[in-house]
């Protein structure tokens, strides 16, 4: 029993990492029906940028600067990658463009910060806490709390601020929002900025427990993509549930079936979910309009 709980606890921590990144996919998909395939690199750049700052100002003061950095990075991705591709009506140009920007970011990061995975100093003690027979790192608790807090903050921003309302309006109906005088182009840029900001934040959040390096984001971003799809690209609750499902499925499969097939059940689940519900678990089924 203790083992099962331990596995679930680990799965939850990993799942929340996925959820935090998956959340970023949703933000941009809602407004522009596109997403950043370079999200993993945004995460890595955020973590590496944070790592550079930590020795000077410490972990907690570094976070706001990383948020600003991520915000700017997202705007760059939108302006350089997504907008030109969308304006020329290329069906998958944005996929290629964001992948390309991701490749460039990764390569630049390799040359700036080196090719080795680095250690990110943990702001919390690195000895595990023992709670009811299961052992958890304080940092893992911070990840779960931080991810939830971040999603909450974005949600509040969307509901309370005028820009947030513009984001919501654009998500619901981009044409109508445009007619209402909302600068939808700028809203899309904003959503990319927030998206990359959440990725950069997720980067500094997970860096102390994972590896920090130019390639740290690649695998995480792919898993997060799966999570976003399982949950449905339109639902905040979806990413949390999807993340937990995938994270726990991984650790449980690893223990009870085989570590070699660890990733398989999550992916098969994804295929099954999409075969039954093409818009994910929590996605809204659209009524075809003709």
């Amino acid at each position: 029993m203790a083992i099962l709980l331990q596995l679930i606890a680990s799965g939850v921590a990993v799942g929340m990492i996925y959820a935090a990144i998956a959340f970023g996919y949703q933000l941009t998909f809602a407004t522009s029906k596109t997403l950043n395939f370079g999200q993993g690199e945004a995460l890595a750049l955020g973590a590496l940028f944070g790592l550079t700052l930590v020795p000077f100002i410490g972990y907690w003061l570094m976070i706001p600067l990383v948020l600003v950095f991520g915000f700017a990075l997202g705007a760059v991705v939108e302006r350089l990658g997504v907008r030109p591709a969308v304006t020329i009506k290329s069906e998958y140009g944005w996929i290629m463009a964001t992948i390309a920007l991701g490749i460039i970011f990764k390569n630049v990061a390799e040359n700036v910060w080196g090719r080795d995975d680095l250690k990110f100093p943990s702001p919390l003690p690195e000895t595990a806490l023992e709670v009811g027979g299961i052992r958890i790192l304080p940092m893992e608790l911070l990840i779960v709390a931080g991810a939830l807090l971040m999603m909450l903050a974005v949600e509040i921003f969307n509901r309370k601020s005028i820009w947030g309302k513009a984001v919501v309006a654009t998500s619901n109906d981009i044409d109508a929002a445009g007619l209402m005088g909302i600068n939808t182009q700028r809203v899309i840029t904003l959503s990319y900025s927030i998206s990359a900001m959440t990725a950069a934040f997720a980067g500094v959040l997970v860096a102390p427990v994972t590896l920090t390096g130019a390639t740290m984001g690649s695998v995480l971003a792919l898993k997060a993509f799966a999570v976003a799809i399982i949950g449905g690209l339109e639902s905040g609750l979806g990413v949390i549930v999807g993340g937990l499902i995938l994270g726990v499925a991984e650790t449980l499969t690893g223990f009870y079936i085989s570590t070699g097939y660890k990733d398989v059940p999550g992916l098969i689940l994804l295929l099954v979910v999409l075969s039954i519900r093409p818009v994910g678990l929590f996605g809204k089924a659209v009524i075809k309009k003709v």
Partner: protein
């Protein structure tokens, strides 16, 4: 009772430039000769192997183009299919010592089966969801190859001996071309495979199958309503594409002679997509060009001298593009400055660098961006844009188009049966909203039946229920066919279309990138009997059918007055002509019942006059028509019988005059407190 109508005005179709057909043939001959001569001119095994790899990638990318270019779906799973093909061949050798020919057969066979497997979850999803499904598929394949050690030899991979293409020892003979020639056998095998692939893809995309692929890309709903099942043709596209990926994979295994699980990951998929994008979709030259670029790129990027030359050329091209943009005062000229600046800065940057290895991937990324910005249609698309004579042959084919055969053939659908279409107590509920609250409808054969009502009354919902786009919550829809009847509720749109109900759409749903003629040919899909093998082999039956149906399509175009515009892409037609083309396309289905959803919306007065004439002629040919329309004079002038809907209820029915006088109808239209509000309707 089959009645024929003479085509109206047999205008000559615009004589389209047909140079393209010759360019294609010329290109094919040049390619064949070039490939045959290459190893005798360049004897270095490195370059010969390079050509082999390019040809193998080209085979896969030609297949990928069917999915990406023609059906418009993004697949990130093709590296996985490639791996399946490679492993099918390698495993056959590992366990049974079977050679390259068996490998090719197994590669094609096994991978096609995987194509079906991939298509199942991929059928219903689009966009990022489809990207993820295919990506997940690729990942799962890779994991299983890695884990199934008894079958695949796991992470260690499989090593193959040199391929023995022709086994002379079986005949007790020596190879007539000696040892040096033997090394080229595999090269020629791959070249042959490439040429065959080009031929097959060419034939498939110009066949009804190819038209179906393009149709489902441009408008899946209209495609279904033309009796062309989107699901089924997506599966076809995936399977053809997978078979080619399998062929490429098997050849790759025998060319590299070493297969390992880590070769077939995400990055390879991106490379394939890049090749399609860069070379140009919907062409044969594009994928070959793209394959050559992605295979040679690592070599070019490894050499600083070559990179500098390339950077110089890119800077030059960027200057030209931005220069032209400013000269022509294009709107986006200032937006272009950023990427152009980057391209220009790249050149001195390469001069400053001593070695490019560390920044190789940056260069690669910049190249992708460059393609996305400036060559969205790829190199081939760019060249075609610049030189119209090179436009694809199949849209311009057939200068000698002539109309033949009847434009309309009335079906003996409800002969004698009255009514033709019976709708009983149909209920359509969206959440709490009853868009149709138990409506009855009876449509008599050979009449024009009007369906009117204020916005939100349920007219379009009725249309969508009748054509299977919505599955009604309750009630039944029955069509009289021959002696019996057929229930239509719960059937798919393509089944209903096949049963003889055709429709047009309120918001025009043409196949935008296809010509007017091709749009009608999609409607004629039902009259093609040829199988996929007919298409691939180019059998006489296939050629005869194509000839006959093209003539028939021309007759239909003439009937709706679009004969002269047969070779114009639908998106380039004026709005009024687009509406007429939709009717023509629907008529091609040889329907017993034609549903017209606001055909006059947005038309000018002369267009409306033309439209009413055509609708009358359709009725006179014996085809029953249901007409949804807001133009009251059109409705009153045309309809034999009119049904009025309001808030999902039928409020009146009768002749046009009776209905007009009905106080309930007047109230519904002229603003009672109830009718003011507008319900959202589909």
């Amino acid at each position: 009772m089959a009645q024929t109508l003479a085509p109206v005005g047999a205008a000559d179709p615009a004589a389209a430039p047909s140079l393209s057909r010759h360019v294609g043939a010329l290109g094919a001959v040049l390619l064949a000769v070039g490939l045959a001569a290459f190893p005798h001119v360049v004897t270095s095994s490195y370059y010969i192997h390079l050509v082999v790899v390019i040809a193998i990638y080209a085979i896969l990318i030609l297949g990928l183009d069917i999915v990406v270019g023609y059906t418009g779906q993004v697949s990130l799973g093709h590296a996985g299919l490639f791996g399946v093909g490679a492993y099918a061949a390698a495993v056959l050798f590992l366990h049974f010592k079977l050679g390259v020919w068996w490998g090719i057969l197994a590669g094609i066979g096994v991978t096609s089966a995987f194509g079906v497997l991939l298509a199942v979850p991929a059928l219903r999803v689009t966009g990022p969801y489809l990207a993820m499904v295919t990506l997940a598929f690729g990942t799962i394949v890779q994991i299983f190859i890695n884990e199934l050690t008894p079958l695949t030899n796991g992470p260690l991979g499989v090593t193959l001996p040199p391929a023995r293409v022709l086994d002379f020892s079986l005949l007790g003979l020596q190879a007539p071309w000696g040892a040096a020639g033997r090394r080229l056998e595999f090269y020629y095998l791959v070249c042959l495979a490439l040429l065959v692939t080009i031929l097959v893809v060419n034939r498939v995309v110009r066949s009804p199958y190819g038209r179906a692929f393009e149709a489902l890309r441009d408008s899946p709903i209209a495609c279904d309503c033309m009796g062309v099942s989107v699901y089924r043709y997506k599966v076809y596209a995936f399977v053809i594409s997978a078979a080619l990926a399998g062929l490429a994979g098997a050849l790759f295994a025998w060319s590299e002679r070493y297969v390992a699980p880590n070769s077939y990951g995400f990055e390879l998929t991106v490379l394939f997509l890049l090749a399609v994008t860069m070379g140009g979709r919907k062409s044969r030259a594009g994928p070959i060009l793209g394959a050559a670029i992605v295979v040679m790129m690592p070599n070019v990027l490894a050499d600083i001298g070559l990179v500098r030359i390339m950077a110089g050329l890119i800077a030059l091209a960027a200057l030209v593009v931005v220069g032209l943009a400013f000269l022509r005062r294009r709107e986006n000229r200032f937006a272009l400055l950023v990427p152009v600046g980057l391209c220009l800065a790249f050149f001195p940057a390469t001069l400053a660098l001593e070695s490019v290895t560390d920044f190789r991937l940056t260069v690669f990324g910049l190249m992708i961006l460059f393609v996305v910005y400036y060559l969205p249609d790829g190199i081939v698309g760019f060249v075609r844009g610049a030189i119209p004579a090179l436009r694809p042959a199949h849209t311009a084919a057939g200068r000698d188009l002539h109309a033949a055969g009847p434009a309309l053939s009335a079906q003996s659908g409800g002969a004698g049966a009255d009514p033709l279409l019976t709708v009983e107590q149909v209920l359509m509920q969206f959440g709490g909203l009853k868009a149709l609250a138990g409506v009855d409808l009876a449509v008599r054969p050979g009449t024009i039946h009007g369906l009117i009502g204020p916005n939100g009354s349920g007219k379009s919902t009725m249309m969508n229920v009748l054509t299977g786009i919505y599955r009604p919550t309750g009630g039944s829809v029955t069509l009289a066919r021959g002696q019996g009847t057929r229930r239509l509720d719960g059937r798919t749109p393509s089944e209903i279309a096949a049963a003889g109900i055709a429709r047009t759409f309120q918001n025009v749903q043409l196949f935008r990138e296809m010509t007017a003629l091709e749009n009608v040919l999609v409607g004629l899909h039902h009259s093609f009997r040829g199988t996929l093998f007919d298409a691939i082999l180019g059998t006489p039956r296939r050629r005869r059918e194509e000839r006959e149906q093209r003539a028939r399509a021309m007759a239909i175009l003439d009937f709706v007055g679009l004969g002269a515009l047969a070779q114009v892409e639908a998106r380039n037609l004026p709005y009024g002509k687009q509406r007429l083309l939709e009717i023509g396309r629907a008529l091609a289905l040889d329907p017993v019942l034609l549903l017209l959803d606001e055909p006059a919306a947005g038309l000018t007065a002369p267009d409306i006059a033309e439209l009413t004439t055509i609708i009358r002629k359709i009725r006179d040919a014996g085809i029953t028509v249901i007409l949804i329309e807001h133009h009251m004079d059109v409705v009153m002038g045309l309809c034999d019988r009119v049904t009025v809907l309001d808030f999902g209820h039928k409020i009146a029915e009768g002749s046009a005059r009776e209905v007009q006088a009905d106080p309930k109808v007047v109230e519904a239209y002229l603003g009672s407190p109830v009718a003011d509000e507008e319900m959202t309707h589909a």
